[in-house]
């Protein structure tokens, strides 16, 4: 008891530099930076979104209440973007999660050479998203894409298919590129979860004659519950806000078939120069993501409490 009090007094001693000034000095720079670039933009977007703000009319920015929100939500292009983002998210999140889990289960096997594989798996995630997108542009391009070359050589197609510029395949092209880029993160998280499963538990169930599927359902999955929730929420956030890939792969087209929500907000602001509506769109997106963030923090913090 007394040892503990001693320790406390050591930590509290002013001579040790533990003062309000010290705390302020160490925390203020970070808090200011973070506030200026997250809290302030959030508020800024909220205010801008209630004004009519066109870059073409920079001197007239009247307050128009929620008109921008009404306008963008009524706008067919926003509705299209929401629909596209929904389709994109529903396609990518389950695929990324299942693929990540499969890769983690594979990498968890003790097989010679898999050490290298665990390093390789980081690569699609480590490179710039733009580079990943351009790599897939080289693979899927309608004039010289490697996939077309391969399919032609195998006799599967008679001519080159414009995967990126045909409305029926453009979305799937972006989806495939996104999955290739995103699966490493879930794989790493699931792998870490798998490595926490005690070997004895698995051995015991094997002795008891549990089949592969039963072992997976009753032992593996419960251990992976926390990472699974985190991956689902995190990947949803990533899919909802995807932008870079669209920029280099399709530019939102052809037509508006790959215009995802973030692209729509970007185009509204920087192509149509309507800052008010652009801010409304980005505020809608930020608010939606904030809900996911709160859910995420709750899971992580509850999880931390249990540990």
């Amino acid at each position: 008891m007394s040892a503990r009090t001693d320790a406390k007094s050591i930590w509290a001693a002013r001579g040790a530099g533990s003062s309000t000034a010290y705390r302020l000095a160490t925390l203020t720079p970070v808090l200011v930076l973070v506030a200026v670039f997250t809290l302030f933009p959030f508020a800024f977007a909220a205010v801008t979104s209630t004004r009519q703000m066109l870059l073409t009319l920079p001197d007239q920015t009247p307050f128009i209440g929620l008109q921008n929100y009404v306008d963008v939500l009524r706008d067919a292009s926003t509705q299209n973007a929401i629909r596209n983002s929904l389709v994109f998210t529903l396609l990518t999140v389950p695929c990324v999660t299942v693929l990540g889990l499969a890769v983690a289960l594979l990498l968890n096997q003790q097989i010679r050479g898999f050490g290298i594989l665990r390093a390789l798996v980081l690569l699609p995630w480590a490179i710039p998203l733009v580079s990943a997108g351009i790599i897939w542009r080289l693979l899927l391009h309608g004039d010289f894409g490697a996939l077309n070359g391969l399919l032609l050589q195998l006799g599967a197609v008679h001519g080159y298919v414009p995967w990126l510029s045909s409305p029926s395949t453009a979305m799937y092209s972006v989806v495939v590129a996104h999955i290739w880029r995103e699966f490493p993160l879930p794989a790493i998280l699931f792998l870490a979860g798998l490595q926490l499963i005690p070997g004895e538990v698995v051995d015991a169930s094997r002795v008891d004659g549990a089949g592969v599927w039963a072992r997976f359902r009753n032992i593996t999955l419960p251990y992976l519950k926390a990472p699974l929730l985190i991956v689902l929420i995190y990947e949803t956030m990533i899919s909802v806000s995807v932008f870079d890939l669209v920029y280099v792969l399709t530019g939102g087209g052809p037509g508006s078939s790959t215009t995802l929500f973030a692209w729509d907000a970007y185009a509204t602001t920087f192509t149509f120069l309507n800052l008010g509506q652009g801010a409304a769109l980005s505020f809608i997106m930020a608010a939606f993501l904030l809900v996911l963030i709160v859910a995420y923090l709750r899971i992580v913090r509850v999880d931390e409490g249990e540990a």
């Binding site: 001693a13 973070v34 097989i111 390093a119 710039p128 580079s131 790599i135 290739w180 923090l297």
Partner: protein, 296 residues
């Protein structure tokens, strides 16, 4: 025994498949970058460069125009002047990324140590605020941040990028480092404090050496984030004064007149640094990711 050997073989086959899925796209970019434009347009293309040629790289780094482009004719490809800016972009990217790493190591360490060891009013609120903000994707606040940077008169400056990237990486850094510092035993620090070290002394001489793996992880993360980032770089940079690699290669790749072999060169140049970093820092990145995504 037989069956287990069989299933091992099946698993190994899956492993090979995974390696191919990861590597083939990279290898195709590499192969394309070593070919001439004409060879790339064959249907099907040459899968391996025959013979490999460094002319595209020479053009980017020295300005020497490749022979294939000198030949006039219908199939002569346009050449992309922008590709010549790549070396400048690479320097900009490295400068920005290393500055962000330095700021993270300095400010992040100090703040995390305070969060890990001090008790004071508002600590929890400040912590949650910082943690929550780390998850906000760039695009959601990109437009207002563009306007803020414009107001601060920092458009088209590396400093503008450094500030934005620091604001986006510091929360992550603080999350990882606070958890890391908390996991270190207090006794040694207390001994140092008794011996007359002040708070900063204990941090420098005792805590930081012990936390080296955590520091390596956050250095790698903040570097990769800054090096890879595209949305802000696209919005606030406009000239070689601050354009980074992703902005340059994106501009080349969406330019309908661009030569495809030069696009491939752009890919190779842009991925070399992150790939090297990911391989060298693999262990730190993996453990940092796992720690930062919650106790999985």
């Amino acid at each position: 025994m037989r069956q287990s050997r069989l299933s091992k073989a099946a698993l190994a086959a899956c492993g090979v498949l995974l390696a191919l899925v990861i590597l083939l796209p990279f290898l195709w970019a590499l192969s394309a970058s070593l070919q001439t434009e004409l060879a790339l347009f064959r249907r099907p293309p040459n899968w391996t460069p025959n013979p490999p040629s460094l002319e595209n790289y020479l053009y980017v780094f020295t300005g020497q125009v490749p022979h294939a482009y000198a030949a006039r004719g219908l199939l002569r490809s346009p050449i992309t002047q922008e590709a010549r800016l790549l070396p400048i972009g690479l320097m900009n990217s490295l400068e920005v990324a290393l500055s962000v790493v330095a700021l993270n190591l300095l400010l992040g360490t100090l703040a995390s140590y305070t969060f890990a060891r001090e008790r004071f009013r508002g600590r929890e609120a400040a912590y949650v605020f910082i943690l929550g903000s780390r998850l906000l994707p760039a695009m959601a606040v990109a437009i207002p941040i563009f306007l803020i940077i414009k107001t601060l008169d920092l458009l088209d400056t590396k400093l503008g990028l450094v500030l934005i990237y620091s604001a986006f990486t510091l929360p992550f850094t603080i999350w990882v480092l606070t958890l890391y510092f908390r996991s270190l035993p207090k006794d040694i620090e207390e001994a140092a404090l008794v011996d007359g070290c002040n708070r900063l002394g204990a941090l420098r001489h005792v805590v930081l050496p012990l936390a080296a793996p955590g520091l390596a992880a956050i250095a790698a993360f903040s570097f990769l984030f800054s090096y890879d980032e595209f949305v802000f770089a696209l919005l606030i940079t406009s000239s070689t004064a601050s354009k980074t690699v992703p902005v340059m290669i994106a501009a080349i790749s969406v330019n309908p007149d661009a030569s495809y072999t030069l696009i491939a060169v752009g890919i190779v140049v842009s991925v070399l640094v992150p790939i090297g970093l990911a391989i060298v820092f693999r262990r730190f990145i993996t453990s940092g990711l796992v720690a930062s995504m919650g106790r999985t």
